[in-house]
């Protein structure tokens, strides 16, 4: 059973601020969804290999060659705030 504290903890991990009413609504929603998901517990999967991906791929490497890429200027066009060729964020260290 998921508690409101679990939800608040997950929200902190996910870096989402939740208002109190949001947290309690989410707790109810997630409780219902997890209750449904718990039907997987009726299956015995002890000896089953997990599938995280359907293709038999391991590491995919590309040839190491220089090719055209976006310039700093082109990339920074999308920035919320920039300064001296960098993305600017609020103060990190007081």
């Amino acid at each position: 059973m998921i508690s409101e504290n679990d939800v608040k903890y997950a929200a902190a991990l996910a870096r989402i601020h939740l208002e109190d009413d949001e947290a309690s609504r989410l707790t109810k929603d997630l409780e219902k969804i997890l209750d449904y998901i718990n039907k997987l517990n009726t299956l015995d999967v002890k000896d089953v290999q997990p599938t995280s991906h359907v293709l038999p791929l391991k590491n995919v490497y590309r040839e190491d060659r220089i090719r055209p890429s976006l310039t700093q200027k082109e990339v920074l066009k999308i920035s919320v705030e920039q300064q001296e060729g960098s993305f600017k964020v609020p103060k990190v260290i007081e």
Binding site: I33, P50, R62, P90
Partner: protein
């Protein structure tokens, strides 16, 4: 003749015989958008396209196309119908967009979707809901609901969607058009804004099967910029359009015909099977025993992957940035928390939370790992059947389009409308939805055909044969 009501292959014939021009086609589509999109709301923004008559003739496929709002188009806004990406203009083209541009396609605009492709109704959009052209108080399905509605309303000749758990096929079914989810790895996802990377796949939404094959010809192929794209030869899919299913062995999964399937949908699908039987295909009842675990498995995998993929929307680089009025933790942490609080809608938050929870310490084995193991069982079910059968057939969705607002407050019942579609994503196989009838309320019904990996040609052959012997695809809405 209203050009916008024609299929792409019909228009290409007209162009070849100089009976029309790319300008005239584009004009007819724009007129339709002006006339009906205030009611359908398929588009979230339109591009100001001008066809250059000098280059038009050398273009191979100068056909107006709608693009789901989760594919990057150079210097155009792309938002995934989310507030958090408002104002984001991609600095590059997605591979699919690059291929379309090269083919001469005219990108008319971005189509509405459930925020970050999370939903089955196109109601979870920061731009508001899209309406089903067949019945405006119903949903078009989702998450590619804008693309499906645009094609159904003849506001686009064809469109591109993406499918993570049914997001091309279910809206195609609800809107009476053809929707294909290709094999995982068939179409490059470079520049597709990721939702669940082990499941996402881009595909065509079209008025008929021929157009589906034509559009797949344009977008399929290996791309080294997408490490999950598969380096397998791309056949000319038009060659697969044969009106012949003689001798094909098709399985009917009994788990797709259980309680919850609407009788009208069941009858239409059974009639479709009968029609294919008359053309010489043989059918046998089969079993996909883990079908009932599909939705649970899907929601664990998809949300876990999403919680990681969506971590990048934090206000640092692009999109929006929000700060709370009062400091809570520190200026930087507050920016993350508040940007995501304001920027994400309710369903996206719900899924990020579910994914974060099932990946978190103490719950990983019980949820995420268990989900991956059941995924193996689901995939094995399909592998086993495809060693004996050419294809599997059943309904795309258990019901026809539901009313707008009916399921928004009940996430679980919304999730269950994808019960027949999620398995194809979990197994990586291709699947197509084609129109196979109407309910008494005159809402379209979709038939789903599934085949083994890279057997898109088999899907086209069966779907094409069905289409040639029925006329559901010729029925259209007049808005």
């Amino acid at each position: 003749m209203e050009l916008n009501r024609q299929t792409a292959h019909e228009l290409l014939d007209l162009l070849k015989n100089k009976k029309t021009t790319p300008e005239a086609i584009l004009d007819s589509v724009h007129k339709q958008i002006q006339k009906s999109d205030k009611d359908v709301k398929a588009y979230v923004r339109l591009n100001q396209n001008k066809v250059d008559p000098k280059t038009a003739n050398s273009r191979s496929v100068p056909i107006p196309i709608g693009i789901k709002d989760n594919m990057c188009i150079l210097d155009e806004e792309t938002t995934c119908s989310s507030r958090i990406l408002k104002g984001f203009k991609a600095p590059y083209d997605a591979t699919v967009i690059e291929k379309l541009k090269k083919s001469g396609a005219i990108l008319i605009g971005n189509t509405n979707m459930d925020e970050f492709a999370m939903g089955s109704s196109t109601e979870n959009s920061c731009y508001g809901a899209t309406h089903n052209p067949w019945k405006l108080d119903c949903v078009p399905g989702g998450s590619s609901g804008g693309s499906a509605a645009a094609v159904a309303a003849s506001e686009a000749i064809w469109a591109i969607g993406s499918d993570t758990g049914g997001s091309i096929r279910q809206p195609a079914s609800f809107c009476g058009v053809v929707g294909l989810k290709p094999t995982y790895g068939r179409v490059s996802r470079y520049g597709l804004i990721a939702f669940a990377s082990s499941l996402d796949q881009i595909g065509p939404i079209t008025k008929d099967v021929t157009d589906s094959a034509l559009l797949l010809n344009v977008i399929a192929g290996y791309d080294e910029r997408d490490s999950t794209s598969v380096n397998a030869p791309v056949p000319d899919y038009r060659q697969a359009l044969k009106n012949n299913v003689k001798g094909l062995k098709i399985g009917i999964p009994k788990e797709y015909f259980v309680q919850g399937l609407h009788p009208e949908v069941k009858n239409a699908v059974m009639a479709a099977i009968e029609a294919l039987k008359n053309k010489g295909a043989t059918f046998k009842k089969v079993s996909l025993p883990h079908t009932e675990y599909g939705i649970a498995t899907y929601y664990i995998t998809a949300t876990s992957e999403a919680s990681s993929n969506l971590a990048r929307y934090d206000g640092v680089q692009y999109g929006i940035r929000e700060l709370p009025k009062k400091t809570r933790k520190s200026p930087l942490l507050d920016m993350y928390d508040e940007t995501r609080h304001v920027g994400f809608g309710a369903e996206v938050k719900r899924r990020i939370m579910l994914g974060t929870y099932s990946l978190s310490s103490g719950y990983y084995d019980a949820y995420y790992l268990k989900g991956l193991k059941v995924r193996t069982l689901i995939k094995n079910d399909f592998d086993k059947l495809f060693s004996e059968f050419d294809a599997l057939i059943g309904p795309t969705s258990p019901t026809t389009a539901f009313k707008i607002g009916d399921k928004v407050n009940d996430p679980l019942s919304m999730y269950l409308s994808d019960i027949y579609t999620v398995s194809a994503n979990l197994s990586g196989i291709p699947a197509i939805s084609v129109p196979c009838g109407f309910s008494k309320e005159r809402l379209p019904i979709g038939l789903q055909i599934m085949a083994k990996p890279f057997a898109e040609e088999m899907l086209f052959r069966i779907a094409y044969t069905y289409e040639q012997n029925t006329d559901w695809h010729k029925q259209s809405v007049n808005l």
